[in-house]
């Protein structure tokens, strides 16, 4: 089973974020693997393990020579990586990113393309389905589990109420919800092995893009303003005076969950 996994390398969310005048996140610091993507990597590794053979190939678009996030996923067990890096890609919007990743992924054939439901920095949640569209693949979003059934996949797709079971023919693109699997720790052997795993570096010329079709000049989205998310209001404190149980039931009933 051959699986492509999109891996975004983002500034460490634990470090204070910097933004330029166009509200673009500064990416000139050390980048790490977006935690959201570690679930896709883990799921891909599990699927290949289960299939008994196969390959997990990572795809990332990132500035500079940044590979530390990819190394991390390679240390977990992914087989090789493709990094698309080009100064002319700076300022790309979600669609440009999707075009670039789709073109890079489309150079090979895969049974499955995995991506996170959304990235932790941009949170647009639109790139994966655009990749699917560009590659002419069916897509299933919000997966909490994937099983192979012959030439198809059975995807458990999370919903508000539970999950749907969806059968989709391969090749397909599936987005994986954060937290649905436990990403393995890379071990020391994996870290050492990752050093010699191939990381192919591509420019936009390698992918035959004209400079004005991608990057800031190709972007159709602009960020016009940003503001902090509203902080959550304080919750209701229920004091247990021996009737805490009844109060909880009453509250849940008022929400119509029970």
């Amino acid at each position: 089973m051959k699986i492509a996994v999109c891996v975004k390398q983002i500034p460490d969310p634990a470090a204070p974020a910097k933004m330029d005048a166009n509200y673009n996140l500064a990416r000139d610091t050390k980048l790490i693997m977006d935690e959201s993507d570690s679930y896709g990597v883990e799921m891909a590794l599990q699927l290949v393990d289960k299939a008994g053979a196969g390959e997990v190939v990572l795809f990332s678009m990132a500035p500079g020579e940044e590979v530390s996030g990819l190394r991390n996923a390679l240390a977990m067990g992914a087989h090789r990586a493709v990094l698309i890096s080009d100064p002319r890609l700076a300022g790309s919007d979600a669609l440009s990113t999707a075009k670039v990743l789709a073109k890079a992924i489309g150079r090979e054939s895969f049974d499955l393309v995995l991506a996170a439901t959304e990235s932790s920095d941009g949170y647009t949640g639109t790139t994966p389905v655009q990749i699917a569209e560009l590659l002419d693949l069916p897509s299933v979003t919000f997966a909490k589990g994937i099983e192979v059934k012959g030439e198809s996949l059975i995807v458990a797709r999370q919903t508000e109420a539970g999950f749907d079971e969806i059968e989709v023919p391969t090749p397909a693109l599936v987005t994986v919800t954060a937290g649905v699997v436990e990403p393995r720790y890379p071990n020391f052997k994996g870290i050492m092995a990752a050093k010699s795993k191939p990381v192919e570096k591509l420019s936009i010329d390698d992918l035959a893009f004209s400079p004005d079709s991608v990057g800031a000049s190709g972007a159709r989205e602009t960020i016009t303003s940003i503001r902090p998310a509203e902080s959550r209001g304080a919750g209701t404190v229920v004091v247990d005076e021996g009737d805490g149980f009844a109060k909880i039931i009453e509250y849940l009933e008022s929400l119509k969950v029970i």
């Binding site: 190394r71 240390a75 720790y185 890379p186 071990n187 020391f188 052997k189 870290i191 050492m192 050093k195």
Partner: protein, 400 residues
């Protein structure tokens, strides 16, 4: 965070000049980050619980084994990674920032459990015991100390004789305070024993008839580390369980302890850094008399002293490790690192509890645990007095 780049002058050579290098090598930084996140997720939330219950965290140790921590320094043929001793020190340091008990389980597992077998064992002994130890699926222990022979470990009273009829060694005696000797995954205990040729070492597999692992001690600290007294009553071992040459036990354990001392010093360094981080955070957020306590010079200077001791300890630890990794003499450096770092750990943990005030005396607070855990560092693998003795000897001072 900066470190010495141990063993690696390649980068600076490439650009045409050599310089002292104080940074971690790339893989070392990756390992450090891995252990840091492992400690944050798998250890920190439970450290207090294990401490309170005196529980050896078997599952966590097995997970640490899966990471490869126990095999860092051993050759690949035994399932290890064949990497630097300094890399092992980094792992111990990172763990000790959070939990000394887990850190000593690694340190003793490698330094006292596997290392004697690796250093003195036959190929067959190595193949039998090392692979599972490198994977962290088995732990070894080193039974040197006895109720009447600690600092003076050469005074071993445990006796051995060869039963010539069966060609078996027969060992009787007792051992005290042996780390990792009674865990569910302890596979073998190396013990020292004496006959007319002097002291020799023997491999005693767990479960050998006559070997009794006594109940755990109630300790001041290291509650989640496994420590037992052992009694050996006519323990019979096949001839091939002799480890290394007959009568070489004294020289063997001296060399084992030199390595162990650097590792204990790394553990002390981690504990110091753990205390420092907790103290800085508390000094910023705890208010008294209308502002954070960190604005008082009395508190700030304690933090300054802690940071300075951490830095001094770091240099001693990684310099000693660097000497060892470069096959240079390191006996004196190891003793100095252990002496300074462990005494600093006791001082720093005392200051940290002081900064925390009453909260520092309450169990459940990491600095309280660090305070209790620090004291053993000045005692185990050679007391501070013994380190001073070793250093004095290296200075050429008269012995008698």
């Amino acid at each position: 965070m900066w470190f010495w780049k141990l063993n690696c002058l390649v980068d600076s050579k490439a650009i045409g000049f050599r310089t002292m290098d104080f940074e971690l090598m790339h893989h070392q930084e990756e390992f450090r980050e891995l252990i840091e996140s492992f400690a944050a997720k798998e250890i920190a939330p439970y450290a207090d619980l294990w401490d309170e219950r005196g529980e050896f965290p078997l599952d966590t140790i097995l997970k640490l084994g899966e990471l490869g921590a126990f095999g860092i320094t051993f050759p690949e043929e035994f399932g290890g990674l064949n990497l630097e001793f300094s890399t092992l020190c980094i792992a111990i340091e990172e763990l000790a920032k959070v939990d000394s008990s887990v850190a000593i389980t690694l340190s003793a597992g490698v330094g006292l459990g596997a290392n004697p077998i690796f250093s003195f064992g036959s190929q067959e002994q190595k193949m039998r015991y090392l692979p599972s130890m490198c994977e962290g699926k088995a732990l070894g222990a080193f039974g040197l100390t006895e109720p009447d022979a600690g600092s003076d470990a050469g005074a071993t009273r445990t006796k051995v004789r060869l039963d010539e009829k069966t060609n078996e060694w027969v060992i009787s005696g007792s051992k005290a305070y042996i780390t990792n000797s009674g865990t569910p995954i302890t596979s073998v205990i190396t013990v020292t024993a004496r006959d007319e040729d002097g002291v020799s070492t023997f491999l005693v597999p767990s479960g050998t008839p006559g070997l009794v692992v006594e109940p755990s001690y109630r300790k001041l600290g290291w509650h989640a580390s496994d420590t037992h007294g052992l009694s050996l009553d006519e323990v019979r071992l096949p001839y091939e369980n002799l480890l290394g040459a007959k009568g070489r036990g004294f020289a063997q354990f001296l060399s084992i302890l030199d390595d162990g001392r650097i590792a204990i010093a790394a553990l002390a360094l981690g504990l110091i850094e753990g205390c420092l981080a907790e103290s800085i955070e508390y000094a910023k957020t705890r208010n008294a008399f209308g502002g954070p306590i960190g604005r008082y010079q009395a508190v700030a200077f304690m933090c300054s002293d802690m940071a300075t001791k951490a830095s001094a300890a770091r240099h001693l630890v990684y310099h000693a490790a660097w000497l060892k990794d470069n096959s240079k003499p390191y006996k004196q450096a190891a003793a100095m690192a252990k002496l300074f770092a462990t005494e600093a750990a006791v001082e720093v943990s005392r200051s940290a509890t002081q900064i925390f005030g009453g909260a520092g005396f309450i169990e459940g607070n990491a600095v309280a645990r660090h305070y209790r855990d620090a004291k053993i560092l000045e005692i185990g693998e050679g007391t501070s007095e013994i380190q001073r003795l070793v250093i004095a000897r290296s200075l050429g001072l008269p012995q008698k």
